[in-house]
């Protein structure tokens, strides 16, 4: 079936099987491999993208189900060489090691800050509770999101 998905503002169209999962559509069709394909069982959160601004697990959504919706991936965060504050926060606070969980962590954190610009550590931990990191122990990830919240206004102005 012909499926058209709006990914990072661009309509991407391809003839796929109805069973094609969104994560594979994103990685295979426009070749946006920043979205990682992890556990395949909606447990790990590496595949999180935003659908109409809300974080969703793209391994557990059919590409066909997203037609008519706006999908946003990790590739959309950096604009003209300027990192999103969340990305900058991960850089400043050393919030990644192997990097596999990072795209999902970034998109989940971006969605949190869009909804709640000044989250507490508990609110950050709750928001990322559907995302698993095996390297950091989460402490630096929470610090990175806090950094992003605190620097959101200034980095935006500089950008």
């Amino acid at each position: 079936m012909q499926v058209t998905v709006t990914i990072n503002g661009e309509a991407v169209s391809r003839d796929v099987e109805p069973r094609t999962l969104l994560v594979h559509f994103i990685r295979d069709t426009p070749g946006l491999t920043g979205t990682h394909w992890g556990c395949d069982t909606s447990n790990c959160g590496a595949c999180v993208v935003l659908m109409d601004g809300k974080p969703v697990k793209s391994c557990t959504i059919l590409a066909a189900m997203t037609e008519g919706h706006e999908v946003r991936t990790v590739e959309s965060l950096e604009v003209d060489g300027v990192l999103d504050p969340v990305q900058q926060g991960f850089h400043e606070k050393h919030a990644l090691h192997c990097g596999f969980c990072t795209p999902g962590m970034l998109m989940t954190s971006r969605a949190l800050l869009d909804e709640n610009p000044d989250p507490s550590d508990l609110e950050i931990r709750t928001a990322i509770s559907g995302a698993i990191c095996r390297c950091t122990g989460y402490k630096n990830i929470v610090a990175a999101v806090r950094w992003a919240a605190e620097h959101e206004a200034t980095t935006r102005q500089e950008a």
């Binding site: 109805p18 069973r19 999962l21 395949d40 069982t41 959160g45 974080p55 969703v56 959504i61």
Partner: protein, 291 residues
């Protein structure tokens, strides 16, 4: 790589259209809502529908509203909306208790109450919640609607009263005075299914219990309604001793099996403790004494 088996996909544009598609396509067609139970089952080949009918466009089925003596919840209402609903938290705080521990926030953005109930996984929380609060569900087919109680709804593991060519459209929660409710769950880690969970609801008339509901998750082949404990509670004055006895009955009447989440005797013990705690909190809420 885990991918569902092949199927045909269509989007419903109306409830009647979805039912017409179910009728036309026969028993190998399934409704898909959030898909966070069905797609994992399809990846594992535990479910192999030949047709999926996507009802995500049926926004007319996404609502939580008060209508006379009932709270009405549309089948497409997502977990995040159940969690955030002040109306629901005011009348049935058990929903917020449960939603805070159902999967994780990202999954809760997709999963729906209709999907959770129709999946009828004995380890799922909302089935126990709906049993405890004595919910009724509306099942619609080509010939109209019927309303069934939760005890009629659960007919076996992963089996419900929803027949071929039918879909669940609404959950109805009867409003009665003096109510309090709570959900208690023990899980191995954030977002996991329960090792055991208990939902309890009490309705007080003065200082005695007019009615009680207790539903248990993950300790039997289906959601367990602890009717023997409900009978014990009716007509009694709430007390710690009474809730301990109700918990003992819950531990006796559940049917846990050993698995990776724990041995049967541990789950049985948990069912009793969690029933007692849920009743204690439900009573405190009914009496407006919760700290």
């Amino acid at each position: 790589m885990q991918t569902p088996g092949p199927f045909e996909y269509e989007r419903a544009t109306s409830v009647d259209g979805a039912i017409a598609s179910l009728q036309r396509l026969g028993p190998d067609a399934r409704i898909i809502a959030g898909g966070h139970s069905l797609l994992p089952m399809m990846k594992l080949r535990l479910a192999n529908p030949e047709h999926l009918i996507d009802i995500n466009d049926l926004t007319e089925l996404a609502y939580i509203r008060e209508d006379g003596a009932e709270i009405l919840i549309g089948a497409m209402t997502r977990h995040v909306d159940l969690l955030e609903s002040e109306l629901l938290a005011r009348h049935f705080p058990v929903f917020r208790d449960a939603e805070e521990v159902i999967a994780d926030p990202v999954v809760r953005n997709r999963g729906t109450i209709g999907g959770s109930l129709c999946q009828a996984d004995a380890a799922e929380d909302l089935s126990a919640v709906c049993s405890a609060v004595k919910a009724n569900v509306v099942i619609r087919g080509a010939d109209g609607e019927r309303v069934v109680s939760m005890s009629e709804f659960h007919v076996g593991p992963f089996m419900t009263a929803v027949g071929d060519g039918e879909m669940l459209t609404e959950v109805r929660l009867p409003l009665r005075p003096g109510g309090g409710s709570a959900h208690e769950k023990v899980e191995r880690r954030a977002g996991d299914f329960a090792i055991a969970a208990a939902s309890a609801a009490l309705w007080l008339d003065g200082d005695t219990i007019a009615d009680a509901g207790i539903g248990l998750s993950a300790v039997g082949p289906t959601t367990i309604e602890v009717t023997r404990a409900e009978e014990l509670l009716r007509g009694q004055v709430p007390s710690e001793d009474l809730f301990v006895k109700a918990g003992e009955i819950a531990a006796e009447d559940c049917m846990p099996i050993p698995d990776g989440r724990g041995p049967a005797d541990y789950k049985r013990h948990l069912a009793g403790v969690l029933t007692k705690r849920a009743l204690r909190r439900a009573a405190a809420r009914a009496l407006h004494q919760e700290a």
